[in-house]
Subunit: 555 residues, 2 copies
C-alpha cells in the first residue's frame, strides 16, 4: 500500500542559520533537492571564502537524487552550485531569471554545458517517480520566485521558498492568492515556511514605497545621486530607472554584479530600461551634475565593492564630490554594520549628503521577507497539519513556531529541527525519525574543505603570531652545528625586540646543551623542552603566547 | 594683555570615533586633560587587547600638564588610565563614584598610592594657573557624572561630558538646569558637546521607564528571571533591586564586574539594596524558582561573560532551565550583534523566554546619551559662540553640526575636527591652528605598542597560514646536509596533504641544487628563489598564498 511508503523532509543547510539553504524531500527512494546556497563566513573562520552545505549524504545516494529545484536566484539559494555540482551532476529546475543567473555562475566555474538546465514557470508540472511537483508564484526581493508543492501518495508538502505578500508589486504580479487558496483547500500535510522576519511584527511594506522616495530625492537634488543597492533586486533597479526617467536623469552602472544582473534582466525581459537613459560611467563627465544618477553595488559597505571605493575616492571613473547625494537602499546584513558605518563616514567626509539608516526611517528600503502577519496569512491559506519553520536562526524558528501556534497549529505539530534531522511522515503522522550527515563545507581557494586544526591554527596565529626556532646539531659530534636561529611573524617586530630575541636564543641554547650532555636524551624531548621553556619565558616578558615551532634537526 | 594669550582645545581621542576619549584644554602653557578612555579593537586589529590614546604630546610637555579631570567612570573615559599613568603621573580629579571605580583599576595595575586622587563634587571649584574650573551635574547611564566649565581670561569653554536630560531620574537629581542657564548667561565662548545620539530624533526616554517593565516581568514570571545589563548602570541595578523588593524576589549577582560595581556603589551610597534581598549564587537552589532574580554581566554577548556562559550551560553555580526568563537590558554596541544573537539563540535552545531587541520595542533599555532635542536644548542653554562636537564617529559629528546650525550657530563657528587638530581662540575668534601628534596606542599583553608590520603579518597569517622551510647546507662540501624540512600551520593539514608537501620539498630541492651548482650564487638569492617558486607552486595547487619563511643555513 502506497500510503505506507514514508515521505520525509530534511535540511542540509538553512535551519538554525541564515544562509546555505538546501532542503530535501524524499518519497520512498526518490530524493528531490530544493536550493543550493552558500553562506559568508564570520570572524570565527579566518581565511575562509565561502561556506556551502556538506552533501555527503546526497553523494552517497546519488542514484536516488532525481533533480534540484531552485526557488530563486539569490546567493543563499544558488551560490553553492559551483562547488556542489562538481560532486553531484543532477538536472536543475528553475525559472528563466533564476537559470539566467545560474548560467553566469556555471560559466565562471567552467561547468556550463555539463549540467542539464530546465526552465519552469509557475504553471509547470513535473513528475519525479510518484512525486508530482507544481509551483506557485511568490513575491520577494528578486523577480521570478517560486514556492514548490510536492504531491505524493503519502501527502502534500509545500515549501514556500523566500516570500512576502506584495499587494502592489513593481513590474510583476502579486503572489497568486487564489492558487494558494486552492493548494490549501486540497489538503497540505506539511508546510515548510521561511522564518527570516518571524521576529518582526506587522506586514512588510510593498516594494513600491521605495520608488516615490527615490524619485523625490532625484527631483530635489542639485547634483549627482548615487543609489547603492543589491544588484539582484531588479524591482528596485526598475524603480530607479523610472525615477530617473521622471526626473530627466541618466543612469550609469558601477560594479561588476550590477552590470551582470542588469544585462541578464534586460535580455530576459525582467527589467525595462527607458530608451536613452542608460549611459556609460565615462559619459558622466559630459552631463550636467543634476542630470546624473548612478546605480552601484556596495550597499553593505563591502570593502572592495563600488560604494566603498567611491567613498575612499578610489574609483577610476567616477567620484563623489561635495553636494552629491548617496542613497543606501538596503538594510545592513548582521555583521556588516561596521563596514557600512565606515563607508557612510567616508562619504560624509567627501561632503556628500548621505541617506542611510533603517528603511523604516528613510523609506529607501523594504525587506523581501514576510513579517509576522504575512507568515500567519500563509499559514491560514495553507491550513497545514504540520509546520516546519526553516530559513532562520534558532530564535526566528522559535518565533515562527509561536505564530503557528497562535493560528491554531498544535504545539507538537511544529517541528523545530536542525540541519540533518529527518522529519518522516507516515499514515499522515509526522515525527523526527533520525538524522542524516549534515554540516558545513568550508571553501578556501581550490581546496574543498579546511579542517578544524587549520582553523584553530589560523585563529591562534592571528592572536599572537608565530615564532620559529631552527637548530641543527650533531649528537655524534656532541655539538650544535648551526643556530639557534629564530624568526617571528605577527609576534613582535624583530627590529626593536633584539634583546628579547637574544634572550630567547640563550634559552634555546641552554636546552640544547642540557640535551647534548645527556647521552640518552631524545630529540622529541628537546623539542618539547624548547617549546615549553621558550613559551614560559615569552609569556613572562610579553604576556603573549605566540605559536612556537621548534625545527631541530640532527645530522 | 591677558586677552592675547591663546586658549586652545584639542582631542587626543574621541573625535571621529566612539571610544578612548581624551581632550585637552590649554591656556598659555597650562594644559588640563579631560578623561582617559580606552576602546575595544575591531576585527582589523587581531590579537590586540585594547586601544588607548597616544599621549606623546603630553609626555613631551609633561611639565605643562596640570591635572586630569574625569567626567565619569565608564571605560571609554577612564579605561586608559592603567596604561597612560605609567607614562605620565598627574593628579586626577573626579567624583566619589568615578574615583571609586578608578581605584579598582589602579589596584589591578599596581598603581594605587602612586597617583594623587582628588574628589570633587558638582559644587567644587579648582584653579590651574589662570584657569578656573567648575562643574555641573549631568544625567547619564552611570551616577555621579560631571560637565566641566573652564573659565579663562580668553573666554569660557564648556565640556558637557556624556549626558542626557533625565527629568525623572532614578536615585539622583536631574541635570541642574538653573546652573546650566547661569553658565550660558555668563557667556560661553565654545561648547564642546558629545554627539553619540546626534543621529537620533527626539528626546531619550527617562531611565525610569525601564523599572516598571522589569517589575511587570518579575511579577508575571513563574520561574527565575535573569537581567543582563552593564554593571556600571547603577540606576538600572537600583531599579532591578526595587522590582525584586516589590515582587518578593531575592537577587543574586553573577559576573566579576557586577560584583565589583555593586560593592563600590553600595559602599559609597550610590546604590541602596533593600535589606535581605541580596543572596549568594549558591543560595539560589534553596529558594522557590519564582522568588529568584539574577543580575548578570554579558549583555553584549561577550563570549566569556556570565550571560554567554549561562547560555552555553557552562556556569558553575547557576543554570537556565526551561521556563526561566532572560531580559537583555541593554542595546548592542555596534560590532557585537553577532555575539549577542548567538547568545539569544542559545538561551532559546535552553527553553528560556528571552526578552531581547531594541529598547524602544521591549521597554527594557534606554540610552544614556542625549538625542537631537536634548543636544539642541544644551545648545540653547549654553548659547555658545563656537561649537565643537566630540564623542562620535564622523557622521554623528556631522549631524551634530547640522543641529547646531539649526539652533542658530553660524556654519563656520562649528568645528568638525580630527584627533590632534588644535582649535585656538584668540580675541574671541576661533580657528583650527595646527596639529599635535595624536593616534592610537595598541595594547597587547604587556608590550605597549604593536606596529603595523606585526598586524599585517597577523592578518596575513589568519588568512592562509604559514609554511616554514628549513635547509642546512654546506657550500664548501657542495651538499645539502639536512632538509628540506617543511612545516605548515593554518595552511593545509599535514596529514592528508602529504603529496602536496612532498612536491613542495622537491621544488625546494631543485632550487638548492641549482644553487650548489653555481659557484658564485648567494644565499639570499636562494632564499628568494625558494620563496618565489614555492609560492607560485602552492598558489597554483591550492589558490592560497601562505606566508613562506625560508630558513636556510650554511655551515
Amino acid at each position: 500500500m502506497a500510503d505506507n511508503i514514508p515521505l520525509s523532509f530534511f535540511a542540509l543547510g538553512g535551519v538554525g542559520e541564515i544562509g546555505k539553504n538546501m532542503y530535501v524531500i524524499q518519497y520512498g527512494d526518490d530524493m528531490i533537492v530544493v536550493d543550493c546556497g552558500n553562506k559568508f563566513p564570520g570572524d570565527d573562520l579566518p581565511g575562509i571564502d565561502l561556506i556551502v552545505p556538506d552533501i555527503t549524504h546526497l553523494v552517497e545516494h546519488r542514484d536516488r537524487v532525481k533533480g534540484m529545484i531552485l526557488t530563486h536566484g539569490h546567493e543563499d539559494h544558488i551560490g553553492g552550485l559551483p562547488y556542489i555540482l562538481k560532486q553531484l551532476q543532477i538536472p536543475l529546475y528553475g525559472t528563466e531569471l533564476t537559470l539566467g543567473l545560474v548560467e553566469i555562475k556555471l560559466k565562471e566555474a567552467d561547468l556550463l554545458g555539463t549540467i542539464e538546465l530546465n526552465t519552469v514557470t509557475p504553471d509547470s508540472r513535473l513528475k519525479f517517480g510518484e512525486v508530482d511537483v507544481s509551483f506557485f508564484k511568490t513575491n520577494h526581493s528578486i523577480p521570478d520566485c517560486l514556492g514548490v508543492v510536492f504531491e505524493t501518495p503519502a501527502g502534500t508538502i509545500v515549501h514556500t521558498g523566500d516570500f512576502k505578500f506584495d499587494l502592489t508589486p513593481v513590474n510583476e504580479e502579486s503572489a497568486d492568492l487564489h492558487r494558494l487558496a486552492d493548494i490549501g483547500k486540497s489538503g497540505v500535510l506539511a508546510l515548510v515556511s521561511e522564518s527570516t522576519n518571524a521576529e518582526r511584527p506587522g506586514f512588510t511594506p510593498s516594494e513600491r514605497v521605495v520608488g516615490k522616495h527615490v524619485e523625490e530625492v532625484f527631483r530635489a537634488a542639485e547634483q549627482k545621486v548615487f543609489v547603492a543597492t543589491f544588484a539582484s533586486n531588479v524591482h528596485r533597479l526598475q524603480q530607479v530607472f523610472e525615477a530617473a526617467r521622471a526626473t530627466g536623469r541618466k543612469v550609469a552602472l558601477i560594479g561588476r554584479s550590477m552590470v551582470n544582473v542588469v544585462d541578464v534582466s534586460v535580455r530576459l525581459g525582467y527589467l525595462q530600461i527607458p530608451d536613452g537613459i542608460l549611459i556609460e560611467p565615462e559619459d558622466i563627465a559630459k552631463l550636467p551634475l543634476d542630470r546624473i544618477a548612478v546605480l552601484c553595488t556596495g550597499s553593505q559597505g563591502e570593502p572592495m565593492a563600488a560604494l566603498s571605493r567611491l567613498a575612499r575616492n578610489n574609483h577610476r571613473q567616477v567620484e563623489v564630490i561635495p553636494g552629491d547625494t548617496v542613497i543606501i537602499s538596503a538594510g545592513p546584513i548582521p555583521g556588516n554594520e561596521r563596514n557600512l558605518s565606515r563607508t557612510v563616514d567616508d562619504l560624509f567626509k567627501l561632503g556628500a549628503h548621505v541617506i542611510y539608516g533603517p528603511g523604516s526611517a528613510t523609506g529607501m528600503h523594504v525587506s523581501g521577507h514576510a513579517s509576522q502577519e504575512e507568515l500567519k496569512l500563509m499559514l491560514h491559506l495553507m491550513r497545514p497539519r504540520y509546520v516546519i519553520p526553516v530559513h532562520g536562526e534558532f530564535r526566528m524558528l522559535h518565533q515562527h513556531k509561536r505564530l503557528a501556534e497562535a493560528v491554531g497549529i498544535k504545539k507538537d505539530h511544529v517541528f523545530i529541527i536542525e540541519n540533518g534531522d529527518v522529519v518522516e511522515f507516515q499514515n499522515g503522522e509526522g515525527r523526527v525519525a533520525g538524522k542524516v550527515p549534515a554540516g558545513r563545507t568550508l571553501v578556501d581557494g581550490l581546496v574543498g574543505d579546511v579542517g578544524n586544526i587549520v582553523l584553530r591554527d589560523r585563529r591562534s596565529l592571528s592572536q599572537d603570531g608565530i615564532l620559529v626556532v631552527v637548530v641543527t646539531l650533531s649528537k655524534s659530534l656532541n655539538t650544535m652545528l648551526s643556530g639557534p636561529d629564530i624568526v617571528s611573524r605577527g609576534f613582535v617586530y624583530d627590529r626593536g625586540s633584539e634583546d628579547l630575541l637574544e634572550q630567547a636564543k640563550q634559552i634555546v641554547e641552554k636546552s640544547v646543551h642540557l640535551f647534548l650532555e645527556k647521552p640518552d636524551a631524545r630529540l622529541h624531548e628537546l623539542r618539547r623542552n624548547v617549546k615549553e621553556s621558550l613559551g614560559r619565558f615569552l609569556f613572562e616578558q610579553t604576556k603573549r603566547r605566540p605559536m612556537i615551532v621548534a625545527m631541530i634537526t640532527e645530522i
